[in-house]
Structures are given as C-alpha cells and as structure tokens.
Amino acid sequence: MEVLVRCMDRLGIERLLLSQGYSAELHPTPAQFREENDRVMRAVRAFPDRAFGSVYISPAYLDFSLQEFDRCVRDGPMVAIGEIEIDRRANVPEMDPIAERAIALRVPILEHEWLKAGGNEPGESTPHDVVELARRHPRLQIVCAHTGGDWERGIRMEMAVRELGAERVIYGSDVGGRSFASQLAKVTGAEIPESAKELILGENLRRLLTPILRAKGYSV
C-alpha cells in the first residue's frame, strides 16, 4: 500500500477503491476470499484518507459471500462489492441475493465482464450477462469493469462519452496488473470536455458512493 500511495501522490490520485489485496487466484476458496478482504481492511484502516474498501466475494459461494458482505460492508468499513470475478457469470440466480443486499445498503457492484476475441473463460461474464442482471434489478448500481474488455477495438473514451454520457464513465486503473498511468491517460488524453474529465476522474464515483459513505459517517 505504501508503494501505491507513493505512485498516487506522483500522479495526483487522491483515493483508491481497493479490492482483492494482491491475490492472482482466478478461483479462490472462501478462506482466500476472507484473507484478501482482511488484507484490504488492514490497508483501509492504515490509510483511511487514501483508500476505501470493496468486498471480494463470489456467487460460487453464496452463503459465505452473504456472510462476508455482512462482515465487511454492513458491519465493517467497506463501501462496495467487487470485483466479482470469473467463478460464475453475472446472470446466474446466485447473484440475486447479492444484488438485493447491495440495493438494500445502496452500494455499487463492480462486475468483471469481457468479450474476448478468443472466447471467454468458463464462468466469465460478458456485457450481455450484466444486462440480464441489470434488467432483473433495475435499482442496482453496476460498474462494468474493463469496459467490456474491448477497449482498444471497441470503446475508447471519446466513444464512451458520446454513447453513454460522461456521467456513466468511471476511471478505474486495475492497478497491480496495470498502472495508474496507462489508464489515467485514457481520460487526460481524450478529446472530451474538461467537465467530462472531472466527472470521470472522481465525481461519478463520489455520487455512487455518497449514500453508503454518509450512512457510515465518512466525509463525502
């Protein structure tokens, strides 16, 4: 976390929404999920002004995941769900109780989704799966991670702002695998208005998190 903060300072990044510690497991066990969440909560407590936490769970372990949500979000310091990774696709019925918990506490879900030229992994969501989930839960706030995974060919920032509106686009670095820099460049280097960049770089996420931050007594 010290390294992350050092890089954040160099690039003017105020806060992280942190998830998953540094596990590279594609199919973690409940014990590993718990370990990662503990790691994130330690980081959030050590750097309360620089990071919020997001609970790492999976519809593959529904009962455990609901308990973990309660432990980390309802009763703990975390303020979001995700990234929901590739154990199960976003349209499976096991996502419904997770979505209901998210709606009840007004926290967003960060959902992994891709459209890979070579085909997705088994259990890996496509954007179409996320659409199904969204249709079943119209009040659920979903952040689509990786922009469908087809950034360079399909969506670039100018297209995202044109087609979705700047209010629907959020800067996410995927740092660890990626750098802050390469993803930040997609916003700062884009031919979009400065007001759109401000929304993307902070205001949109702030708006999404405001209900849960207020409920927990964090400053907004």
């Binding site: 390294v3 992350l4 050092r6 890089c7 160099r10 690039l11 891709w114 890979k116 030229a117 070579g118 995974g149 087809d150 950034w151 360079e152 060919r153 399909g154 670039r156 100018e158 740092v175 660890g176 695998g177 990626r178 750098s179 802050f180 820099a181 390469s182 930040l184 460049a185 997609k186 700062t188 280097g189 884009a190 031919e191």
Partner: protein
C-alpha cells in the same frame, strides 16, 4: 524534450483514431514537448504495395514535419524484391531505419530470410524496429487474430551480428515470455515503454535491463500519448535516468546513422 520512438502515420485499419491525420498528430505531439518522432506508416502492416507505403511515408514526413518526423519504412521479407524496398528506404528516402511486423507479415524469426534481412540492415547501419505486437490479442478483430512475435531466436541472432541495432517496440509479450532481458543483454538491442505495465513498471524495467537500453515510445495514435508520459511520472526515476529515457538514448542510437 522528448524523442518518441514509436509513432505511426495514416490509418489504423480497424478504427479511426484521434491524431490519424498527420498535421493534427504533429500539432498534438509538439504541444506535449516532443522534439522528434520516429514514424512508420500503419499501411505497412497489411498493404502489399510496400514501395507505395514507404513513398507516402517519406512524403508525409517531408510535408508535415521535416526534421521532426523521422520516417522508418516497412520491409516485408515475404514479398518479392524486398531488398529493393530496403535499398529505397535508405538511398532514396534517407530513412535511418526500418520497422518490421513479422507476425502480420507471416514469418518466424527462425527463417533464414529474417537473418538475411538483419544482416543487410546491419551492413547498411540501419536501425531495425521490430513490433512484437500491435494490440492486446484479446481485443483483435475476430477475423484478423495475430499472435505476438516469438522473440526466442533473437538473443542468438544478436550475438552473431554485433553491429545490429534492434529496437523491440510494443514489447509486453516479450516481457511476459521472460525474453526481454535475454534479448536486451545479447547485444545492440533496445526496447520502448509503450506497453510496459504494472505499478512503477518503467522503473522496474530500467532496473532490470539498464537505463541505457530503454527508449520513450508511445505507440501513438493507437494509444493515447499521455500513457507513456504518465508512466514516466509514476516511476520516480532520477533526472538523469529520465533524460536518457526521454531523449538521450534515442539520440545516441540515431547518431551513427545520421553521421
């Protein structure tokens, strides 16, 4: 100031890009403090008339950025009379180097023709840029899926030809294959930073392979130019390391060709 060693002119075949008109690209790069650009022509990736591709590249550089845009012509050794294309690059267009796309042009680095091409380029003191890939395989057009270049033969080829000066660009696959370090330590080889990823990725790369072996390259306009620039900002390199990476290494590499 900055020397950007990895820029392309004309059209990326699969979408329009901000900056795919040369005057606009030149304006944007100058505004960001770039003093010199090593430019290829995107057309060279898929077009078969390589002679035409290189003629257009030379004209475009002369018209829109004399002394700013430095052309690197395409050579495809699978096409007839590629040696003539190489000759024209140097003698007719005064290009200091060439750019290769072995994966898009369909040859393996173990093929004898590749060695012949490297030998000729070294004899002519041309810089050889080898694009390991152009984009993430996962996001390619479904009908044109091109795996990255297998760089495994390069260390041996470099050892055999110490005069060769080779720049690996878009080298993320080589890093993942664990081949970048062996290539760069084998001889006159360099790499750019356009696809280097991870926290402080550029600093880690410089530490592993020597600050003298890394060039600033943006892969612009396919990538946003700011990506490479912000990676430098993220790293916390010393001022002398930054100067070498942003400009000094490229100028030094170009010097024997220019003299």
């Amino acid at each position: 100031m900055i020397v950007d060693a990895n820029v392309s002119l004309s059209r990326w075949p699969f979408r329009r890009l901000v900056g795919d008109e040369t005057p606009e690209l030149v304006r944007r790069l100058r505004k960001r403090g770039v003093a010199q650009v090593w430019a290829e022509n995107f057309d060279g990736i898929l077009h078969k008339d390589v002679g035409g591709v290189n003629a257009r590249l030379a004209a475009e550089c002369r018209t829109h950025g004399k002394d700013f845009l430095v052309p690197f012509g395409t050579v495809n050794p699978k096409l007839p009379d590629w040696q003539e294309d190489l000759r024209r690059c140097q003698e007719d267009y005064r290009m200091p180097g060439i750019r290769l796309h072995p994966n898009y042009h369909g040859y393996d680095l173990r093929e004898p023709v590749f060695r012949e091409l490297l030998n000729l380029a070294a004899e002519r003191r041309l810089i050889v840029q080898l694009a390991v890939c152009m984009e993430d395989e996962r996001t390619q057009h479904p009908l044109i899926r091109v795996p990255p270049v297998d760089c495994a033969p390069l260390p041996e080829l470099l050892k055999r030809d110490p005069a060769l000066r080779l720049v690996l660009i878009n080298c993320d696959p080589a890093i993942r294959q664990g081949l970048l370090q062996p290539v760069l330590s084998a001889g006159g080889a360099y790499c750019d930073i356009s696809m280097v990823e991870g926290i402080e990725g550029v600093a880690r790369l410089v530490e592993r392979v020597s600050p003298k072996k890394v060039l600033f390259g943006s892969n612009s306009p396919l990538f946003y130019f700011e990506s490479a620039l912000l990676k430098i900002q993220e790293t916390g390199l010393s001022e002398s390391e930054k100067d070498a990476l942003l400009e000094g290494n490229a100028r030094q590499l170009l010097a024997p060709v220019a003299s």
